[in-house]
Amino acid sequence: MPAAEQVKRDVPGIVISAIVFGIGVLVLVEAQEFSPMGSIFPRTVAAIMMVFCAAYMIVAWRRPQPAGVGEQGSSLRRVGLFAVMLLWSIAFSTVGFLTTSVIAYAAITLLATYGRWTASRVASRLVAGIAILALFYLLFKVALHVPLPSGWLL
C-alpha cells in the first residue's frame, strides 16, 4: 500500500469538526430559552466542544499525518444496507412488522451475497431465512409479549 507512506491533511476530520462546531452554535442559540438551571450544562459543554473542534481544525491543517488505509469494498452496498435499514425502521409500524421484515431480510440477503447463486444455495438460504424470521418473531411476540405492530398488512 503506497498510500500508507503518504502524508496528508485530514480533510474529512476537519469537515466533521466544522459540522460539530455548527451544532455547538445551534445549541448555544437554543439554550437561551432554557431555565438558568437547565442551560448551565448545554452551554458549558457546547462551548468546550467548540474549542476542541477549533483546536482540531488548526492542528489537522498545520500538521498533516500519515494517511491511513483507504476505504475498501463496495460503497454502493454500504449505502444500500443503510437505506434498507432506515426504510425498514420507518415503515414497520405503519406497514406491519412481519411484512417489512420479510422484505428487508430478503434485500439484505441480496446485498450480502457474493458469488453465484446455485439452486441449493437459494434453497438453503430460503430455509434459513424463514427459520430465523419465524424463530425470533415468535420469541419476541409470544414468549416475551412484545407488541410487534401489525400495521396495514401484518
Binding site: D10, P12, G13, I16, S17, V20, I23, V27, E30, A31, F34, S35, M37, G38, S39, F41, P42, V45, A46, I48, M49, F52, C53, A55, Y56, R63, Q65, G68, G73, S74, R77, R78, G80, L81, F82, M85, L86, W88, S89, I90, F92, S101, A104, Y105, A106, I108, T109, L111, A112, T113, Y114, R125, G129, I132, F136, F140, L144, V146, P147, L148
Partner: protein, 498 residues
C-alpha cells in the same frame, strides 16, 4: 439456623434446576442485543410468584448473573454489547475475535465472569451492612465528581487523536440532553415534537453506534466476518488460565472496582467495566497491543461487570434502595412476595435472604460449565454461518431489540440513524466509545451538579458543598492524577510521532 442450613436450603434439587434454567436463559437473553438483564428479569418475575420466595429469588438472581455475562457474547463476536454492561468488552473482545481468537475470548470471559460474580456475591454475604453505609456517603456532589472522573477516563481509552475523542465525548453529552430533563424540568433539543421527548435511549444508541457500522462494513466485502480459529474452536482453557495467571492483580482490582461501583446506586455495570478497563490499561506497559485484542481487557471488564451483581444487591437488600434497574425489579418482586428488606434482614438472619445469597453463589458456579458450553456453540455458530445469512439475521435482531426496549418504534429509527452517524464518525477516526461514555455519564453529572447547586445555595456555601468533604476531595485528586497522566502520555506519544 446456621449457614450450613442456608447452604443446604439453596442446594435443593429444585433450586439447582432453577439456577441452571435461569443462568442458561439469562445468557441467551443477555447475548441478544436489545434484550437487557432488566427485561429478562421483568419478563420472568410473574413466573416466580407461583414458587416459594427463596426459589423465585434464586431464579431471578441466576438470570441476572447469566444476562450480564451473556452480554459478552455479542460484544466479542459482533462488536455489539448485548447489555450496556458489556460496552467495554467490545474494546478488546472484538479485535480478538476478528483475528481468530474468539474462542479464547469467550472462555476467558466465562472464567473471569464467574470469578467476578463470586467476588461480588461474597461481598454481599459477608460485608453488606458496612458497605451499604459507604454507599450512603455518596450524595449529589460525590456523584457529580464521580461522573467527571469517568469522563477523564476517555484519555485512557482512545488510541486515536485525543482531540477527536474529546469532541466525540461532548457530542455524546449533548445527545443525552435531548428530551425532558427530569431534574430541572426543561424540555431540550426536541425540535418541538413529542417524538424526542423521552430522549435518546441508551440501549438503542448502543445497538446503533456499535452494531450498525459492523453490518455496513460486513456487506461491503466478500471477506468472512471473523477469522476461523487456528485452534479448531476448542475451549482453550489452558491459554485462558495463562492469561488469568498473568493478570491476577488485574482480576482482583477489577472485581473490587466492580463491587464498589455496583454498590453506588445509579452507576451500574457499564461504568464499572469502563473504569476497570481504563485502570487495567493504565497499569500496563505502553504498547502491549491495547485496543488490538489484548486479553487483559476482557479480564478487567467481564470480572468487573459481574461483580456489580452482588455489589448492586447490597444497597437493595440492606437499605431497600435498588443499585441498578434490575435490582429495582428484584426489589419489586420481593415486595409483591411480602418480604421486607432492610438492616434487619441481615441481623435477624432471615432465612429467605440468606438462602438467596447462597443461591446466587451456586448459580454463579453453575455458570462456569453452562457458559463454557454455550460460548463454544455461539462461537461455532457465528463463524460457520455464511455472511448472507448472518447479516440479515443480525440486522433483524437489531430492529427487534431496539423496538423491544420500550415497545417504541421511535427508538428503532434513532438506532438506525445513530448507526449511520457512528459509521461516518468511525470511518474518519472519531471512535464511538467517547460518544457512548458521554451519553451514559451525562445524567449522573448534570443531575448531581444541579442538586448540589440547589443544596449548596440553601445551606449558604457553594464552595463548601462542592469541595468540602473527604470523598469529594479524594475523587478530585483522582481526576487531577488522571488528567496529569493523560497529558504526560500524550506528550510522549506526540514526541514519538512528531
Amino acid at each position: 439456623m446456621t449457614p450450613v442450613d442456608f447452604l443446604l436450603g439453596a442446594l435443593s434439587v429444585n433450586n439447582l434446576l432453577l439456577s441452571l434454567l435461569g443462568v442458561a436463559a439469562g445468557i441467551v437473553i443477555g447475548a441478544l442485543p436489545g434484550l437487557t438483564a432488566t427485561m429478562a428479569v421483568a419478563v420472568l418475575v410473574p413466573f416466580t410468584f407461583g414458587m416459594n420466595a427463596a426459589s423465585g429469588l434464586i431464579m431471578l438472581g441466576a438470570i441476572y448473573m447469566g444476562a450480564i455475562y451473556g452480554g459478552s457474547y455479542s460484544a466479542i463476536l459482533l462488536n455489539t454489547p448485548g447489555t450496556p454492561s458489556a460496552i467495554a468488552t467490545t474494546f478488546e473482545g472484538y479485535p480478538m475475535a476478528k483475528r481468530g481468537d474468539g474462542d479464547l475470548a469467550l472462555t476467558l470471559a466465562c472464567l473471569v465472569s464467574v470469578f467476578g460474580g463470586l467476588f461480588g456475591a461474597f461481598a454481599l454475604l459477608l460485608i453488606a451492612p458496612p458497605m451499604a453505609q459507604f454507599a450512603l456517603r455518596f450524595g449529589p456532589v460525590e456523584y457529580f465528581w464521580f461522573a467527571v472522573f469517568g469522563l477523564t477516563l476517555i484519555a485512557s481509552l482512545g488510541e486515536e487523536s485525543m482531540l477527536k475523542s474529546l469532541i466525540g465525548c461532548c457530542l455524546g453529552l449533548l445527545l443525552a440532553m435531548i428530551g425532558l430533563a427530569e431534574v430541572g424540568g426543561d424540555v431540550r433539543f426536541t425540535g418541538g415534537t413529542s417524538l424526542l421527548l423521552g430522549g435518546i435511549d441508551i440501549v438503542a444508541a448502543l445497538i446503533g453506534l456499535y452494531c450498525v457500522p459492523v453490518l455496513i462494513d460486513l456487506v461491503a466485502t466478500p471477506k468472512p466476518h471473523l477469522e476461523t480459529s487456528k485452534h479448531g474452536a476448542g475451549f482453550r482453557l489452558h491459554d485462558a488460565m495463562g492469561v488469568i495467571l498473568r493478570g491476577k492483580f488485574n482480576l482482583m482490582r477489577s472485581s473490587v472496582i466492580g463491587t464498589i461501583v455496583g454498590i453506588l446506586p445509579g452507576a451500574g455495570g457499564s461504568i464499572a467495566a469502563i473504569v476497570a478497563y481504563a485502570e487495567a490499561k493504565r497499569g500496563a506497559k505502553e504498547g502491549d497491543g491495547w485496543g488490538h485484542g489484548n486479553p487483559q481487557g476482557i479480564v478487567a471488564t467481564e470480572s468487573a461487570n459481574n461483580a456489580t451483581v452482588g455489589g448492586g444487591l447490597i444497597p437493595t437488600l440492606v437499605l431497600g434502595i435498588p443499585g441498578t434497574p434490575v435490582d429495582a425489579v428484584i426489589l419489586g418482586a420481593l415486595l409483591v412476595q411480602g418480604i421486607r428488606v432492610g438492616p434487619s434482614l441481615f441481623s435477624e438472619q432471615s432465612s429467605v435472604s440468606y438462602v438467596f445469597m447462597y443461591g446466587l453463589i451456586i448459580a454463579t458456579l453453575i455458570m462456569l460449565p453452562v457458559g463454557l458450553l454455550l460460548g463454544r456453540y455461539a462461537f461455532k455458530l457465528i463463524i460457520s454461518i455464511p455472511k448472507e445469512v448472518l447479516t440479515p439475521a443480525v440486522a433483524f435482531m437489531t430492529i427487534l431489540g431496539s423496538f423491544a426496549i420500550n415497545n417504541d418504534a421511535n427508538n428503532v429509527v434513532q438506532m438506525v440513524l445513530l448507526g449511520g452517524i457512528g459509521w461516518v464518525l468511525g470511518r474518519f477516526g472519531f471512535s464511538v466509545t467517547p460518544v457512548v461514555l458521554g451519553i451514559i455519564l451525562e445524567s449522573i453529572a448534570e443531575s448531581g451538579f444541579v442538586q448540589a447547586y440547589i443544596i449548596g445555595g440553601a445551606r449558604g456555601s457553594l464552595a463548601g458543598e462542592f469541595l468540602g468533604n473527604p470523598i469529594s476531595m479524594v475523587i478530585i485528586g483522582l481526576i487531577i492524577l488522571s488528567v496529569v497522566y493523560a497529558t504526560i502520555r500524550g506528550r510522549k506519544r506526540g514526541s514519538v510521532n512528531g
